[in-house]
Amino acid sequence: MNRTWFDWRTGVVVLAFAATACLPWFVSGYWLGVLTISSYVAVYAMAWDLLFGYGGEVNFGPTFLIGLGAYGAGMSNTFLGWPVWVSIPVGTLAAVIGGLALVGPALRLKGPYFGLVTLVAVLLLSQVINMFAGYTGGEIGLALRDILTISSTGNFYYAFGLMTITALVLRILVRSPLGLILEASGQDTTATEALGFSVTKFKILAFVISAFFSGLAGAMTVFYFGTASPGTVVAVAVTIQIIIATIIGGRRSIIGSILGAVFLIVAGEFLRPVGQLSSTLVAVLALLVLVFAPNGFISVFGARRERKA
């Protein structure tokens, strides 16, 4: 739209990305690992916010999509022996198809019921993983034949690259006419329908795009870890992490989702010495952000002037 493409905030963001890209020369492999995970979580969060922030739908099943991507990729590598660069598209496709199968019935329901259906989908997926433990590895997880690379720098660039591409694509999307219609649909379905838009179509599209990036990131995550396990890609705890990251970073903001994810993972690392307490402390921190900056970190930078709806 006719908003300027390159104001100072965009400049700051580009500089921050460039600086992050130079990090492998300055930080240890350990911190590169932390940033690799942060990048994947950031992609999950951005994909989730496309539905929540823009589409106005609360999807409690991001890990259904991530899990399909992860296990689709993992199983085609382990059982079919397909190489990494074939397995990842297979996983992504699985997530998109699974997403389409889910969103059709889910969107027929309104309000909290959409969220409940997506939550049930996650529970179903974890049941299936447990039931077919012979193929999926069950609770313990599935060991893959291959990994992306053993180099921590290489892994960082894969993850960081995916995050950068996702952020760019989503930014173009949400600032396009398409994004405008999606945001309007999320805010007031009836009024948007009355303007002549078949809202369902746009929400399905948003869901498919969200599924694509979630599945892709899920697939790449398992090739980073070398295993696919419910605890890392399907568990409800992962969903909660995604939701907290998006909300404390800033709803309806791509950079916000990234900030939230990085903050959450890095804070978790810093708090590791306190053991069990760490997740409690992160939750308290998230609560404080919610109370004092309900629109997330990003609102502190004044990038988004927005009244609470």
Binding site: S176, Q187, L195, A309
Partner: protein
């Protein structure tokens, strides 16, 4: 030529027949006003036409095509546009972008907008007078401009017919005038419009024809003059015709000399809509005072201000002390009890339990005595003491609402539209009870009413309020000669 032809559409929500066999048509370039009191089904009718709600039966022909039951977006694409009563623009986008939204094609294959859309959006903005604020965000606009924005969105794609739901709600008088002029200019340009409003006066200068509704049914149709002089319409709005009010209810109690309530409200805002301005009103101890006016004029807002539910500028004195900044609960304990228009009964509790909850602050003996007094006042409630509140008829529910408020042993009773939707006989019952109350206990009452007959019968004094401002006040017996006929 007829472009919209509605024939016998009906809609039922659970036990409520919201729209009952409504038929009317709109010709090209014609402006039709759909009027009726609150809950008459006019807004639902508009939603049925737009496809927001599906009609149970009936046919809606738009430019020769049957559209009843079609999806809203499909109806919109045929050339119908609607301005909703409550609008929520995109707050992070500019005014221009908000208008552009309305012009985008319904396809997922678009990443850039064309120059043509930009031009059309600017035109639409010019038509409603928004050309100077195109680059601002909706948050920074006054309320009337937000309404203009919605209008621009609806007009942008050149609809064959425009549906307006309560376009004047929340606007100040000067804004209402500007907005009326805007609608007139659209009419002059040949735009067909269906306009819903509860205020007959506001629309009669704008429309070619009026369809009046009550309780889901069409009660009159014709030119504004025909409809406003229609006996049935006047009765629906004001109760029995004012001229036939018999002054049978002599005030027997004495009005005290003690000023119980002294209201001096400068203004009340909802967001940017001004709901009340410059309201000066007082109530003496033992007095029965009415605030009359059409729905949406600000009566309920006044009550909500008294009870501290909404913020206001100005001051309210209760028994010589300011109520500013006090909590609703403290105000209620201080002796003001409200019977809300929506009744707000605890529907799954029994009649007795509702009453006992109302008297929660009393000790046991006191509470029992007060319940007995209320059963004496409304014998019907005694018969129904063990029944759940939701099984009661409308009239009985109203009695229970009043009874529950009286359980607080208030010094001032606020009654908000107690006659709404009740049969004449039931209203009579409530009238008798109110008379008895005042004679026995000298209770002070402040009534908000649309039913003028009821208000005039009971009151010592009357305040007339229109779109948030006081228009008249004086003794009740002067009301019908001084205001009477002008009000519609």
């Amino acid at each position: 030529m007829t472009i919209l032809d509605i024939s016998k559409i009906s809609k039922r929500f659970g036990g409520l027949q919201a729209v009952d066999q409504i038929s009317f048509s709109v010709a090209e370039g014609e402006v039709v006003g759909l009027i009726g009191p609150n809950g008459s089904g006019k807004s639902t009718t508009l939603s049925l036409i737009m496809g927001v709600v599906r009609p149970d039966t009936g046919s809606i022909k738009f430019q020769g095509h049957e559209i009843a039951g079609h999806a809203t977006h499909a109806i919109a694409k045929r050339g119908m546009a609607m301005v909703f009563q409550h609008s929520r623009p995109l707050h992070r986008q500019t005014v221009l972008e908000n208008i552009k939204l309305a012009l985008l094609p319904d396809t997922i294959f678009q990443l850039f907008t064309g120059r043509q859309i930009e031009e059309q959006a600017r035109n639409a903005a010019r038509r409603v007078g928004l050309e100077d604020v195109l680059d601002q965000r909706p948050d920074s606009l006054p309320f009337a401009d937000l309404r203009r924005l919605e209008l621009a969105k609806a007009l942008a794609a050149d609809p064959a017919i425009l549906l307006l739901d309560e376009p004047f709600a929340g606007l100040a008088p000067s804004e209402t005038r500007e907005f009326s002029e805007l609608i007139v200019s659209m009419r002059d340009a040949g735009q067909a419009i269906v306009l819903v409003d509860h205020n007959v006066k506001a629309v009669s200068g704008l429309v070619d024809r009026i369809v009046a509704m009550d309780a889901g049914q069409k009660i009159a149709e014709g030119t504004p003059e025909q409809v406003t002089s229609d006996e049935k319409v006047r009765e629906v709005y004001f109760g029995k015709s004012l001229d036939t009010v018999e002054k049978t209810r002599e005030r027997k109690h004495r009005v005290g000399e003690h000023r119980l309530l002294d209201v001096n409200i400068e203004s009340v805002h909802y967001g940017r809509a001004e709901a009340l301005r410059n309201i000066q009103l007082h109530v003496e101890e033992g007095e029965f005072v009415s605030v009359v006016g059409l729905n949406g004029s600000g009566k309920t807002t006044l009550f909500n201000s008294l009870l501290g539910f909404v913020a206001y500028q100005g001051d309210i004195q209760w028994d010589g002390q300011s109520l500013r900044g006090k909590k609703p609960a403290d105000i209620a304990t201080g002796g003001i009890a409200l019977c809300p228009e929506t009744r707000e009964l605890f529907t799954h509790m029994s009649v007795l339990e509702n009453l006992e909850l109302g008297g929660h602050a009393l000790d046991n003996a006191d509470r029992r005595a007060q319940v007995d007094r209320i059963f004496e006042l409304f014998p019907r409630l005694r018969e129904r003491a063990k029944q759940s509140a939701f099984t009661l008829s409308g009239g009985e529910q109203q009695m229970l609402t009043i009874g529950r408020a009286l359980m607080q042993k208030p010094r001032l009773l606020l009654l908000d539209e107690p006659t709404l939707g009740l049969a004449p006989l039931v209203i009579e019952n409530i009238s008798d009870a109110l008379d008895k109350l005042q004679q026995d206990s000298g209770l002070t009452v402040l009534l908000a009413e649309q039913n003028l007959t009821f208000a005039v019968q009971h009151s010592n004094r009357i305040y007339l309020i229109e779109t948030g401002s006081l228009q008249w006040n004086g003794a009740a017996d002067r009301f019908s000669e001084e205001v009477g006929a002008d009000i519609l």
